[in-house]
């Protein structure tokens, strides 16, 4: 379902951050519309966190402009902060305060009346399944629970924009999935989400629009579909046999003349350039000839990862390194 988005709530124009001679963010320009989930995709060190820090007042831009709801982040950042919630990459609430006290303190900082902040804290603790643990110290929480409470703290004042910096880093699969569900719900509530991630599938699932950031510069911006459509649409099909096929490369080339075949291993292959019906028919013939059961056959669609690698000019090995760079 296509969602109507309102006017831009974040405007960035030529935003630059330099540390001495090193350019961390080099003159980026983009805008984020109200109610959309906007993803900032890029490898480690691309400038994603630096951008968030400039937009949230934790770092001053070297040059360029940025505003949140029209409030300039250089001159009116205190006013802008009333409208934003921030979930940093590290869950940095107070280790020696309980879950409830952490939320109440955050509510106090944002000037929520006493009754309202308790009501909101209880609501958030319930939403994130932490109510039973409200009296426990933050430092006794698991990594996933810490993340959940950090997000709760960012939502205590009902922000219009939520900045999420690498939200699923360090989470287990279940917690990461819950968090993605939550982000989708936030969008339904009309909250604008600004998300940085280097997990491409996460951006593909969650984001309405994505900007690809490489070495401090935006190299492309668009919906995940638009970005994926830039990848050459050469048909690709994966086939897998029940066990290794002897002399596979030569025999498959003979069975599928004119097509490009890449061996993943002795039993799994990717075939480029053939229509699925043709490849399926020839693969079944090959199964009969060689007597090894054809176990899987899948058409391959371009992913955001393919698009990212093409647009960012990165090889798969670099991306694998990025993925391995932070534990999930």
């Amino acid at each position: 379902m296509t969602k109507e988005h309102s006017a831009p709530v974040i405007r960035v124009d030529g935003l630059t951050k330099k540390y001495e001679d090193r350019v961390a963010v080099g003159g980026i320009t983009f805008s984020v519309n109200g109610g959309e989930v906007f993803g900032f995709l890029g490898p480690n060190g691309a400038g994603k966190t630096t951008t968030i820090r400039m937009l949230t007042g934790l770092s001053k831009p070297t040059s360029g402009n940025a505003s949140i709801f029209g409030f300039d982040v250089r001159t009116d950042i205190v006013e802008a902060k009333r409208y934003i919630g921030v979930v940093p990459e590290i869950s940095n609430l107070y280790e020696d305060l309980t879950a409830m006290d952490n939320l109440l303190f955050m509510g106090q900082l944002y000037g929520l009346p006493r009754n309202r902040r308790r009501e909101k804290a209880e609501e958030l603790l319930n939403t994130f399944g932490l109510y039973e643990r409200r009296g426990d110290l933050f430092r006794r929480f698991s990594r996933g629970m810490k993340r959940a409470l950090t997000i709760s703290a960012a939502l205590i004042h009902d922000p219009d924009i939520l900045f999420l910096d690498e939200p699923t880093v360090g989470l287990d699969v279940v917690a990461a999935r819950s968090l993605r569900t939550l982000v989708a719900r936030l969008r339904d509530f009309g909250i604008t989400v600004f998300l940085t991630t280097h997990y491409l599938e996460e951006a593909d699932l969650l984001c309405d629009r994505v900007a690809i950031l490489v070495k401090g510069r935006i190299v492309d911006i668009g919906t995940p579909s638009e970005l994926k459509s830039q990848v050459q649409r050469e048909p690709a099909i994966d086939i897998g046999f029940a066990r290794a096929v002897p002399d596979a490369a030569r025999r498959l080339s003979a069975a599928l003349p004119g097509l490009r075949i890449i061996e993943a291993d002795d039993a799994r292959f990717r075939i480029y350039g053939g229509e699925p019906s043709y490849v399926l028919a020839r693969a079944l013939d090959f199964e009969n000839d060689c007597g090894i059961r054809l176990e899987t056959i899948n058409t391959v669609r371009p992913t955001l990862e393919d698009a990212f690698m093409k647009i960012a000019g990165m090889g798969p090995s670099v991306l694998l390194m990025e993925k391995g760079g932070k534990n999930r």
Partner: protein
């Protein structure tokens, strides 16, 4: 400074009291160290201890406030939680002020216990007004000094080590245990550029050990030191996040 800044600073100070006052560095440098000094001086010369009370209260103020600042600032710098405060809709100045108030409150508890205990045990009758004026001002001055040093470094132990330089220098040249007037001229000059000297003098006036003739000078000088420490500390915190 706006009302939201003042409210934010108070929230931060109250949170710091709940969170950090029982941390080991605050207890060892802010409580154990001054209490040990007081006990040592009392045991050495209980008869003339009254003379030493102003200096020991001043030293308690110095150590308790600066030790607390190292804890409330550097624990948060290390854990990254100071950034949480800077993400709230209050100015960085208000965050620093909250941290200074947190150290001030810790120092007030400690020095009030020492001043009240000494008065009760030794039968002293301090001028409460003078005492409160000098104590309040010096608590904020030394909290600001602590904040200024602590925002320069990241770790609590670095802050405590760095703080020991001005702390011990002041203890030895500011008349805590030995009158400034009896020191060599060079040291007397040094003592005049140390805020602890004016705290000791002000407290001596408040405890009736000296005449209160210089108390306005002491208040004036402490106000100057407050400006010299607090404003650069605020600026340093802002620069740390530029």
């Amino acid at each position: 400074m706006r009302w939201s800044d003042i409210r934010g600073a108070i929230c931060i100070a109250v949170k710091d009291m709940k969170t950090y006052y029982l941390k080991p560095p605050a207890i060892s440098w802010g409580i154990v160290f001054p209490v040990s000094w007081i006990a040592a001086f009392y045991l050495r010369n209980p008869r003339d201890f009254t003379e030493l009370v102003p200096g020991l209260v001043a030293m308690t103020i110095l150590f308790s406030t600066t030790a607390a600042e190292a804890v409330v600032i550097n624990f948060e710098l290390r854990m990254g939680s100071l950034e949480r405060l800077l993400l709230a809709p209050i100015s960085p100045k208000a965050v620093l002020l909250g941290k200074v108030l947190g150290g001030t409150a810790f120092g007030f508890i400690m020095s009030a216990v020492v001043a009240a205990g000494a008065s009760a045990i030794l039968g002293l009758r301090p001028n409460v007004f003078y005492l409160l004026v000098i104590m309040s001002l010096s608590l904020v001055v030394f909290s600001s000094l602590g904040a200024l040093v602590c925002v320069m470094v990241r770790e609590v132990f670095e802050a405590q080590t760095l703080l020991n330089l001005p702390r011990f220098l002041m203890v030895f040249v500011s008349g805590v245990v030995y009158p400034v007037s009896g020191m060599p001229v060079v040291l007397q000059f040094f003592s005049r550029i140390m805020p602890l000297t004016y705290v000791v003098e002000g407290l001596r006036s408040a405890f009736g050990v000296a005449r209160p003739a210089t108390i306005m000078v002491d208040v004036g000088m402490l106000t100057v030191f407050l400006v010299l420490y607090l404003i650069p500390a605020m600026r340093l915190l802002e620069r740390k996040f530029e």
